[in-house]
């Protein structure tokens, strides 16, 4: 018997039978950023047996990418009015962007703060990866988050109101919303049960206990080719204000600064966040980030800050049509992302960027909202009331 158990010993088996490398290119968001897709493809080709799936960030707004995943053609074209705190939803907006790139730039360029835009980019990348993992039949989504970047994302999440989802930053078992095809298949009794079962993906971060510098040293010693990452820069902004370090408002610099005077800050942050759990129950899932939504968010917000006077009659009461609001379908952080306004003007995303009051939504959000019963409130006119009672009225009351 050989010392290592022989060629057929289970220890020589691969942990995962099939590996797909997925890369999301973001250069179409930021002006003058280089496309690194080919560089990444070249590195992936050097590994035996890895498949490569290149994506672009604007796929989040692309029917070509989404329709095969949903199993149905997207019909509704929804927009959100950012000028209204209630984030009113509009259907079939006439001024809809022509391409997915334009839709992406309109969405990001119209958000109220640079942090909102950076946070949205992170969300889009995450959802693109998750949906691709489901589409490729993967059981795990492996991310290269190091201890340092995990600490940064945890503090960033807390700072944006994602305390309820703090657990998902470190470990997550994710299932997509039921697509129209899955909804049809679940009712089809001829299909086997395995085909009808929902597919979940476990998100793992194998490098989460290893610091960023340790990863860098290991990569250097092992002579691993690293593509690298460019800073996300906003056109027309000053370097010291507009420059975002991985979209976390100089959080990296802040954490590194603390680490100098207080070593182990990074590991302490991660260790502390693993000791807490969400409080209370989830009330559904956010339409934008697909993470659990805490119960009672709107009540909490209305309790802690007064935005209307009780003796001021709301204009809405007199409106004939009140478009539905996106707010009940969002988590706290996504809501704040769309409504929290900075006193600083938002830098542009370049000459091709479009700023609009009504912005498109990513495809998964459109599908989710289209399938919800979104109630439109409508004040009944006298004519409408009379028409509904016509067959019972013996004579004209007037």
């Amino acid at each position: 018997m050989p010392a290592d158990g022989g060629k057929n010993h289970p220890r020589h088996e691969r942990v995962w039978k099939k590996v797909t490398v997925c890369y999301v290119e973001v250069c179409d968001v930021f002006p003058e950023m280089r496309d690194h897709t080919k560089d990444v493809a070249r590195i992936v080709r050097s590994y035996d047996g890895f498949d490569f799936v290149p994506l672009r960030i604007q796929d989040a707004f692309s029917s070509d990418w989404w329709d095969p995943i949903a199993g149905a053609q997207s019909l509704e074209q929804l927009g959100v009015d950012l000028t209204d705190e209630e984030l009113r939803i509009t259907v079939n907006t006439p001024l809809r962007p022509a391409s997915s790139v334009e839709a992406l730039r309109t969405h990001l360029g119209s958000l109220p703060t640079t942090t909102a835009a950076a946070s949205s980019v992170q969300t889009f990348i995450r959802l693109l990866l998750l949906h691709t993992a489901v589409k490729t039949g993967s059981s795990h989504l492996v991310l290269g988050t190091s201890l340092t970047s995990l600490a940064v994302s945890l503090i960033s999440g807390v700072s944006q109101g994602r305390g309820f989802n703090i657990r998902e930053e470190t470990q997550e078992e994710w299932e997509p919303d039921q697509t129209p095809r899955e909804a049809r298949e679940s009712k089809d009794s001829t299909l086997p049960r395995s085909q009808k079962e929902k597919h979940s993906v476990r998100v793992v971060r194998p490098l989460r206990d290893i610091g960023m510098k340790e990863c860098a040293i290991w990569a250097w010693w092992m002579n691993i080719k690293v593509v690298g990452q460019e800073k996300w820069l906003w056109s027309g902004s000053k370097q010291d204000i507009g420059a975002l370090t991985r979209g976390e408002f100089n959080l990296h610099y802040f954490i590194f600064g603390l680490e100098k005077d207080y070593p182990s800050t990074v590991s302490t942050v991660v260790r502390t966040c693993t000791k807490v759990a969400p409080k209370g129950d989830a009330a559904g899932r956010c339409a934008l980030c697909a993470r659990p939504v805490q119960e009672g968010i709107q009540e909490w917000k209305s309790r802690i800050s007064i935005r209307t006077s009780s003796h001021l009659v709301s204009k809405d009461a007199h409106q004939l049509h009140t478009p539905p609001s996106l707010v009940p379908f969002l988590c706290y952080a996504c809501n704040a992302t769309m409504t929290s306004r900075s006193t600083r003007p938002m830098p542009t995303l370049g000459p091709s960027a479009v700023k609009a009051s009504i912005i498109p939504l990513p495809k998964w959000a459109e599908t989710r909202l289209s399938e919800q019963e979104i109630f439109r409130t409508e004040l009944m006119s006298e004519e409408q009331k009379k028409n509904s009672l016509e067959e019972f009225l013996l004579e004209d009351p007037e």
């Binding site: 703060t113 640079t114 942090t115 909102a116 945890l154 503090i155 999440g157 807390v158 700072s159 944006q160 109101g161 994602r162 305390g163 309820f164 703090i166 408002f249 100089n250 802040f254 600064g257 603390l258 207080y262 800050t265 302490t268 942050v269 260790r271 502390t272 966040c273 000791k275 807490v276 759990a277 969400p278 409080k279 209370g280 805490q294 909490w300 309790r303 802690i304 800050s305 007064i306 935005r307 209307t308 006077s309 001021l312 706290y332 952080a333 704040a336 409504t339 929290s340 306004r341 900075s342 006193t343 600083r344």
Partner: protein
Amino acid sequence: MPPRSCALCNKARAILKRPKTGQQICRECFFWVFETEVHNTITEAALFKPGDKVAIGASGGKDSTVLAYVMKTLNDRYNYGLELFLLSIDEGITGYRDDSLETVKRNQQQYDMPLKILSYDELYGWTMDAIVSQIGKKNNCTFCGVFRRQALDRGASALHVDHIVTGHNADDIAETVLMNIMRGDIARLGRCTLICTQGEDTIKRSKPFKYAYEKEIVMYAYFKKLDYFSTECIYSPDAYRGHARAFLKDLEAARPSAIIDIIHSGEAFEVTEVIKATQKVQQTCKRCGYMSSNYLCKACTLLEGLERGGASPSVVGLLVTTASELPFNGLSLQTNRMQGKLDAVLISADNMRTIPLFQTPSTLRPPMSTFKEQLSSSTQSQVIIDPIHLSTLA
């Protein structure tokens, strides 16, 4: 461009933009929303009941000055039925606290509230000036915080109050959440967003300004022309909290809702049951009787270190680490090994000062149920026994 009208009343001219909501409103509406939000915070948390005696922790700074004004206003307007007191702590910081105490004395006259001032010197025998001259400026905030907490409870007990309110605002709470995450203080993280805290033998302590932005408190004081003392503590620049504060200011500039977002995050999670089970059970200090999670309370531990002298940075580090309730990184003085280390670097001193015994407030003491207990609690000469009703009469 015509002047903009108030977003709330639509009548008066808007003269300010609310930092919390960004709304442009008039002065009267600002007073109304600020006071009403505090009133809502108080009523929804059911902080008080009629007849409660409430001590307002007053430092002479903007938060406590505005708190005293608002508490008096709301008490009168909504008939809370509270008896209000001012309670001030003199840490003994020359050029800082002596000036702010004059502000508190003026507040006493303006709001017609009884005032009690308790000093570190009379309670512990040490002023903050003396402490800093001994240990330096790195860990002095730990000493001050521990001493002040106990001093407030002692002052409140002397006033026989049911409740202490402090002027901690939304910015303070957000800083505390960030700080506790960065330092790994899970015990404090689990309770720092609670609006009201109370231990078994301690007085209730609440923060009515929990959701009030610091900028709005300043704005309120400005428009109401309230008198306050505005200098930062001279020993605070090197405090750890300063890092969290600087980061928070940066965040707020980029995203104004960051402060409330962080508080929301802090309220949205809780310490897991597994971790809670490992946390220390509350007991009382064997030296002064104050609440403690160890044999000696933090104040007694720190005071012993000061009294025995030789407080080198490593010793201060040991004392501060034991004082800061770090469940896994914390070092317990209770172990013989640690006590031996401490003894090796400290010079023993006779007649060491100790903190006076803490008397649990009468409102928190359990009622005495038997005649025997009543008798044993008083001397013979002070008791007149009514043999029929078995009650003690003074």
